[in-house]
Amino acid sequence: MMQNIWKNERLFNVLVPVISAVLGMLAGAIIMVLGNYDPVVGFEALFNGMFGSPKAIGETIRAASPLILSGLAVGFAFKTGLFNIGVEGQLLVGWLASVWVGYAFDLPGVLHVIVSILAAAIAGGFWGMIPGYLKAKFKVHEVIVTIMLNYVALYVTADLIKRYLYAGNEKSYRIKETASLSSSFLSEITEGSRLHWGIAVAIIAAIIMWFILEKTAMGYELKSVGYNQHASMYAGMNVSKNVVLSMTISGAFAGIAGAMEGLGTFQNMTVLSSFTGTGFDGIAVALLGANNAFGIILSSLLFGGLNTAAPQMNFDANVPSELIKIIISLIIFFVASGYIIRVIAERFSKEGK
């Protein structure tokens, strides 16, 4: 009996995202038909843009790297029952910190990369710690604080670049070669994509998240607080400490996502006037990946691929690339409304007995 329920629970957790992704794609096809576009050509272009050539695969993986980290950030906080909608801001401060360390410090090769990534993690972690602390100390809802801090990060990073790191043309100085994640080897095997070592960093981060949550006492406490704060408190856990810790670790992941852009794809930072979107995509990634490290990698590849393939779809089938955004938003709706799938399935399984 217990075995059965556990099995079902697991099955649901896999089924809901898969069904949602399929429904999302289906809706995309319907929209293409309604808009008088050819869905066959559209999806063919999408597929080619994602996996059709070594370069396409390279770009898909490149786009997935920051998404994995931003998904991990959202997912990690989710596990503690916290909604970190501030990944975007934490990503920006991490991006700036990595570019600053990458530009201003003189260190030997690998060490420089590691120090720059750590700087991004610390900056992002600090930016995540603020809402965690305010939640623990003042019971302020983290959603609002993180939204507000996104804007503070957006404007403050832009201002700091303009004042201290400005190289002209709305860009910061470039980082030194020693701090770069880019790799001519990876670029060559994917026939000229911008693929860089960031994907390795992202996978290591995913393993770290899995390890913390599944194999350590700290992770057990974090999840326990997420399931039931009161029970955790009666069991002698320090709820406040865990809330701060979870937001800090989450922010650190987000900060490293920023380092992917700063040290990998762009080698500098632009004076942004609006958000990158990577942090918000992380919410979709984490939801679709069921907050599971492995699931997050898979869903990042899907969303990263869709995003990089959008121009190809536009070129081949003339479909506006915003269709991808529509598909992603519908997938979020479907996953979020997974309750209804669950209810239907439970009805069926009860009647079966």
């Binding site: 808009g35 507000m148 801090l149 403050v156 918000f280 979020a336 409304s337």
Partner: protein
Amino acid sequence: MSFLDVLAIIIPAALYTAAPLIYTALGGVFSERSGVVNIGLEGLMLFGAFTGVVTTLTIQDSMGAASPWIAILVAAVGAGIFSLLHAVASITLRADQTVSGVAINFLAAGLSLFLIKKMYGKGQTDFVDFRINKSDVPGLSDIPVIGDIFFSRIPYTSYLAILAAIVVWYIIYKTPFGLRLRSVGEHPMAADTMGINVTRMRYIGVVLSGVFAGIGGSIYALSISGNFTGGTISGQGFLALAAMIFGKWHPLGAMGAALFFGFAQSLSITGAQIPFLKDIPSVYLIIAPYVLTILALTGFVGRADAPKASGIPYVKGKR
């Protein structure tokens, strides 16, 4: 430059930028008071801006100067319908309200640009021929001192926004409907026991938030930006959300906060004309609303508490 000259620059500019925020924040009040968190205000506002501009462009040849006003009404209805998605997901399907709001923001951004490209073949619309212009109130603008500060170079939508805030305050605090709306947001089970249809009240709350955000978004597009692009609405919805919280979920408080945020925003633009503000880096003024909202929530600027049942789906019979 005298102090009154400074006021004559700042106050009209603040009223001008605050109007879209006031409407949207009032929308937020309706939704949150009924117990549904609405992070989707940004997307609803964006959808309103899109509908407003497209409607104006479509009817301006036949309707002339009346077209932006008609467009605002169309945007209100359009965004109200659009907000049903959030209502269905978060009330009926019991989706996480924050997640659903995020999805609304995504969808509005994607859908509006998709349609713009489909309709006009490019990523932005043309500028509308008829805007909601800044104007002087006849008679009142001639009053010495006050006329120049409060009744000159301000679009009528700004006065209507203040009026709307008063009306919303009356509805929420002085009518049976308002009492029911608030009770559903504070203690849905008690409200249900008293015979109030919780689901219906919450649907109304969310749809009203869509209507008001649609008005706010279309006013922004038709009075400030003049056209619609992917970047027309970038953060105003969240700013309105902040105003609602800073105003402690109260219509008049939200209006005051929106005026203050509009003031802060306009200072970062008009500040360069004003002697003693020239030296303050504009970034401080730009981030002021966000920082103040956080401080308000932590209790440094007066404690702000959300409606008690806000964010929690109501399940009949569940304790």
